[in-house]
């Protein structure tokens, strides 16, 4: 599908992360009462502004079915006030039958939800754009998971470099040339079709979460695949997804080989009838309409000379037309040569009767229910014209009134607007390039709610609202939450959030009680004896499981007699379900106070404060502990056997340790038993039951794997091939390695780094004691050794240290193809020869392997296909995980400060998308913030976007102050040793500990256009201005931006409106003079790529 004629360009930079707006819904019995509610809410907000997410959540929870409804989208209190005031005006004026304000205000006298049904429309190729839905990944885990899926598919196919995500979401820092190349690739047949299909599925999962009541579904062109999947007619994701990279390759090869200069496509701003008239007249019908999108847009295809004739004739009629930049003649019989891969894709796809009616865009009728006929239509639509106009008219005739576009860009909504103009309907896109993803979701929700559609609005607030709220019977009354309030949530009684919290509270008490009972029973330390099942008649302990008897007795009842010979596995705490030989579910509380290993596995680094040397980054569960947990569950299901391999490991998300506790649940199920060899295969996963980063973790595995067990370990194989190219002795020392890893002493087992080359690295390792892993268990029983396994992978960190390019060397694991063991966990003190293999690397991912050899040269462990995601953080030459007094996340901008004696330092940052990801952002906070600041961060009650501003603003202030202090005193400071406070609209920094010889310098911070800048100087008056600028901005535009920022800097310094400041002069070096209230001040401006920054110390000019 082509873009429309003057297609707005998508935002060029990755969009801002987080919820930048909220949707506020009001309901009342009638219009007059609704207006009264809007006025009342306006007054309440004026009297006591409350956190917007909390207010939105409370209003959503209070919305009753039916009645008159008003929906507002706003990103600030000022926006909300303005829109409520406008709503009150409109509702008071009877001539307004509806309010449809694209800024975010919706009301309808005659809501369509009561007059018809909701239909979903899935866009196809042509709807893709760079970084589409990237900002939704940060707020909806389902969206992130959908995009991660293509990484996993590529990984499974052994071609991680072919992951579609590389093209959809290129890494930050991509150059203009790289970007142009990626955009060209994204227009290719395979990426365009499957990229949009992925995005469609991601949006569909959001709509599922909202429970949008779809009564009919249709898809445009390739979007028909999305429609068929959503309708239940087709389910190819699991069974055929792994072929995705291969299929895309085939299609691309076909596209390159087929077609030719003789074919041209023309997008025309006219109806099908107009084009056909012209084509008949000047091209003898050789040009055909391949897509009838709407009365004002069709796509015509034909031989180049005939298309040129049609184009000329249309131009003479004043019709707008434009050639499309590709020549694939889809939706015509000329597309048949491309069909091989598509037909192959569909051959084995089972079709089923859909659970929701689905329309076919080539027949403009419902799909048949016969599977063979469905398959035939689904495939042949590629060689048949798209009849979108007729399809929408048919759906409207059948009762559809609300058309929700379930995919990127919003083109189909514009088509529907054009097709149904004048009729009762609404076309609502879920995503448009001009609004942030979260904001457009809010607009979609607002319109549906205003049209009387009932949604699961609680979905929008899962894990976000944390302030104290309450409701009054005669209106909303919300306590103003304090950002430093560290107390847990007390939600509106009866609200979904309240129910969840109550449930978790009860569950926690229940588990505590179980733990105590079982502890008493075994006489074991609290938290390490297995508990009784949560349901079922007979209690089952780990000891019971071990005693369950011979393998294969799958029907045996759960034993009730605990054994005493063998101690429980280290991680199995409370068994909640056990079918011996079949299934096991256990839980374990993740608690930093008990799980001491966590303090040695902290994302963001260690020792980040001189004031408190014990302050570390954010503890996260090592992937290898998830493997251990699954291996323990598998071992409990197959007593007497040993774990020989853990395969197909997929890591979906981090499991961070919360300030409180998080409950981990491990589910394991036997899937195969070989009676002859005794081999057992167990599938298992690990999930958490909610944490502050993802409140509803239930049913969302964080990690999954297949565990192989056998009666004995297999014989050791020979080593993998290992011939080093460009072999050299390692330049890095073990100390270098330790400084560059975020692991503490428990995990530090590497003893030497020997030789390295392009293919990998050799070294040695010594197994460390296990008595420090847990506070209450000095001799843990394990199935594999999770710390040793993790530590062995550190040799790969050393390999990366040896590489000349450190870009993107923050590596976090996403999966493992196989981890095999050829012997039992070795005792402490055992020495291994460790070899790291570099299997593959590209811009976004790397894949490695590791082998451990014992003293006799036998392989003890072999890891193959360990996939890591690369993160790009702008820390220059200094490690993010290294000493925090040495690194600055932001960049200094020396050109922005003129020569002065005040040691002025200006720092600038465009926060990278990776660092806005909630877990990484929390890690960043843990290593740069004081305990007081962390209290504010952890109990934030504003929007996610406001939290980004707060966090990055403070971080930049600290960077500038540290730099200025170091310049004057030669003393490097840790950011976490600096307390930042709000003083009016300013930020003031002071030392966290004892006062220094002089106060820290004043600082000013500016935030604009997604960038943050700070100026610190030992001067009494200072100010800063900041403005984004197009990369290819003309000199006039740059000069205007310098002038504006110069005035803004003086205005900031003197607390004046910028209008009272006037540029007097600006020279070629960026030095400016600004006048304000009769005085003239020196200002220094500088341009950094797409940003202009100006600073002043208010020195007289």
């Amino acid at each position: 599908m082509p873009a429309t004629l003057t297609e707005p360009q998508p935002v060029s930079a990755p969009p801002a992360s987080g919820w930048d707006t909220e949707v506020f819904v009001l309901g009342a019995p009638d219009r007059a009462a609704l207006r009264a509610r809007a006025v009342e809410l306006l007054a309440q907000i004026d009297a006591a502004p409350v956190a917007l997410p909390e207010l939105a959540a409370v209003l959503a929870a209070r919305l009753a079915p039916g009645g008159a409804r008003l929906a507002v989208v706003a990103g600030s209190h000022a926006d909300l006030r303005a829109r409520l005031a406008r709503a009150a005006d409109r509702l008071a004026d009877p001539k307004f039958k509806q309010v449809r304000d694209s800024n975010g205000l919706y009301y309808f006298d005659e809501p369509l939800g009561a007059r018809g049904t909701v239909a979903l429309l899935f866009p196809g190729e042509g709807a893709q754009y760079l970084n589409m839905l990237l900002d939704l990944c940060a707020v909806f885990p389902e969206v992130e998971d959908t995009f991660l899926w293509c990484d996993r598919l590529a990984e499974e196919a052994g071609r991680p470099e072919a992951s579609l995500r590389r093209v959809l979401h290129p890494p930050p820092g991509t150059t203009a040339e790289e970007r142009a190349a990626i955009e060209a690739e994204l227009r290719g047949l395979g990426p365009s079709i499957f990229g949009v299909l992925l995005a469609d599925q991601a949006i569909f999962r959001v709509l599922e979460g909202l429970r949008v009541p779809a009564a009919a579904i249709a898809g445009h062109s390739a979007g028909e695949l999305g429609a068929l999947l959503a309708s239940g007619a087709m389910d190819s994701r699991e069974s055929h997804g792994s072929r995705l990279p291969e299929i895309m390759d085939i299609m691309q090869r076909q596209e390159s080989a087929v077609g030719g200069p003789e074919i041209a496509l023309l997008a025309v701003g006219a109806s099908k009838a107009t084009i056909e008239d012209v084509a008949r007249a000047v091209a003898d019908g050789a040009v055909v309409v391949a897509m009838d999108n709407c009365p004002h847009q069709c796509v015509a295809v034909g031989p180049t000379d005939a298309v040129a004739a049609v184009e000329r004739a249309l131009g003479e009629r004043g019709v707008i037309a434009e050639r499309l930049p590709f020549k694939r003649p889809y939706h015509t019989p000329m597309f048949e040569p491309y069909m091989g891969a598509l037909r192959a894709l569909f051959t084995d796809v089972p079709f089923n009767p859909p659970h929701t009616p689905v329309y076919c865009c080539t027949t403009a009728r419902l799909f048949p229910t016969d599977p063979a006929a469905m398959r035939h239509l689904a495939v042949d639509q590629w060689v048949t014209p798209v009849e979108f106009t007729r399809t929408i008219e048919r759906m409207h005739a059948d009762g559809a009134r609300l058309f929700v576009e379930c995919g990127p860009r919003g083109n189909l909504s514009a088509f529907v607007e054009d097709i149904l103009r004048g009729k009762p309907f609404a076309a609502i896109p879920a995503n448009v390039p001009r609004k942030s993803g979260p904001t457009q979701i809010n607009h979609m929700v607002a319109q549906l709610v205003a049209h009387g559609v009932d949604l699961n609005l609680a979905y929008l607030y899962e894990g976000r609202t944390s302030g104290r709220t309450r409701s009054a019977s005669d209106g909303v009354s919300v306590d103003t939450p304090s950002r430093s309030d560290a107390h847990p949530v007390a939600h509106t009684p009866g609200s979904p959030a309240s129910v969840v919290h109550t449930y978790l509270d009860v569950m926690e008490q229940f588990l505590d009680a179980q733990r105590e009972v079982m502890s008493a029973y075994f006489g074991a330390p609290v938290a390490y004896a297995p508990g009784a099942p949560a349901s079922g008649a007979s209690p089952a302990s780990v000891a019971d499981l071990i005693e369950a008897g011979a393998w294969g007795n799958v029907a045996a009842p759960a034993p009730t007699r605990p054994a005493t010979e063998e101690k429980p596995y280290a991680l199995i705490e409370t068994v909640v379900h056990h079918a011996p030989g079949q299934e096991l579910v256990f839980r374990r509380v993740m608690d930093e106070r008990e799980d001491l290993y966590a303090d040695d596995h902290t994302l963001g680094g260690r020792g980040v404060s001189r004031e408190n040397p014990a302050q570390n980054g954010l503890p996260v569960l090592p992937m290898t502990f998830s493997l251990e947990a699954m291996s323990e569950a598998a071992s409990a299901l197959a007593p007497g056997k040993v774990v020989t391999a853990v395969r197909n490991v997929r890591l979906f998300r981090w499991l961070p340790f919360d300030p409180g506790t998080t409950t981990l649940e491990v589910r394991a199920r036997v899937v195969a038993v070989d009676p002859e060899t005794g081999a057992v295969e167990v599938k298992a996963d690990v999930r958490d039951l909610g944490n502050s980063f993802l409140s509803d973790g239930t049913n969302k595995p964080a990690c999954e794997a297949t565990v192989d067990l056998a009666d004995r370990y297999p014989d050791a194989p020979g080593p993998l091939p290992f011939a080093l190219t460009d072999e050299v002795a390692c330049k890095s020392s073990v100390e270098d390695l330790r400084r560059n890893m975020f692991h503490g002493p428990l995990f530090q087992m590497i003893r030497s780094l020997d030789r390295t080359g392009r293919e990998g690295i050799d070294g040695t390792l010594e197994v460390q004691p296990r008595d420090g892993w847990f506070r209450s268990n000095a001799d843990p029983r394990i199935a594999i050794d999770p710390v040793l396994t993790d530590a062995a992978m550190h040799i790969l960190g050393a390999w990366h240290l040896e590489q000349p390019d450190w870009t993107g060397r923050i590596l976090l694991p996403i999966g493992v193809k196989s981890l095999e063991f050829f012997g039992p966990p070795p005792p402490a003190g055992t020495r291994f020869f460790v070899r790291g293999h570099n299997e593959h690397e590209d811009a976004r991912q790397v894949r490695h392997g590791v082998e451990l050899f014992d003293a006799d040269g036998r392989v003890w462990m072999r890891l193959v296909g360990a996939g890591y995601w690369r993160f790009y953080l702008p820390f220059g030459h200094v490690n993010f995980f290294g000493p925090k007094d040495e690194y600055f996340l932001s960049r200094g901008v020396p050109d922005a400060v003129g020569a002065n004696g005040a040691h002025a330092r200006c720092h600038l940052l465009e926060p990278p998308a990776d660092l806005k990801q909630p877990v990484l952002r929390a890690a960043g906070a843990r290593v740069t913030m004081t305990p007081h600041e962390l209290g504010t961060f952890n109990n934030w009650t504003g929007t996610d976007a406001e939290l980004n501003d707060w966090f990055f603003g403070r971080m930049l202030a600290k960077d500038a102050v540290r730099a200025a202090w170091n310049a004057k005193h030669g003393e490097a400071m840790f950011p976490a040793d600096m307390e930042s406070e709000a003083a009016g609209a300013r930020i003031v920094c002071r030392p966290r500990g004892a006062a220094k010889g002089e106060p820290l310098p004043p600082v000013r911070v500016a935030i604009a256009d997604g960038k943050v800048a700070a100026l610190a100087a030992f001067a009494p008056t200072l100010g800063i201005g900041l403005q984004g600028l197009a990369k290819n901005a003309a000199p006039d535009a740059e000069r205007a931006a310098r002038a504006a920022t110069a005035c803004a800097a003086v205005a900031d310094a003197l607390d004046l409106p910028a209008a009272r400041c006037e540029l007097v002069s600006l020279d070629a070096t960026g030095a400016a003079v600004v006048s304000a209230d009769g005085a003239r001040y020196r200002v220094q401006t500088a341009r950094q790529a797409d940003t202009v920054v100006a600073t002043t110390l208010c020195e007289p000019a």
Binding site: E7, P8, A414
Partner: protein, 91 residues
């Protein structure tokens, strides 16, 4: 000869009548942008062009105008640009 203010008023009138179900800002000025501020979709520019042709009773060279915008990399259209375009072609 219509003044720019008169043309802006004409333009606002055509926009409101072409899309009667939308709630546009009460006051428009030349700095407002068609996509970002008025919330129009790109295809609706074609509809607007048709309505302007009908309102002024002449065929306006909108295709050339849009091509010029595209060539200079514009991703939105300020009402002021439309007013200038109308000034050039509406006598």
């Amino acid at each position: 000869m219509r003044t720019p203010d008169e043309l802006l008023a004409d333009l606002a009138h055509v926009v409101r009548t072409a899309f009667p179900d939308r709630d546009f800002p009460d006051v428009v000025d030349t700095s407002m942008r068609v996509f970002a501020d008025l919330g129009m979709a790109s295809i609706e520019i074609v509809v607007l062009a048709e309505k302007l042709d009908a309102y002024f009773g002449m065929r306006l060279p909108f295709g050339t105008f849009l091509k010029g915008l595209r060539e200079r990399g514009a991703d939105d259209i300020a009402l002021g640009e439309l007013v200038t375009f109308l000034q050039q072609h509406v006598s």
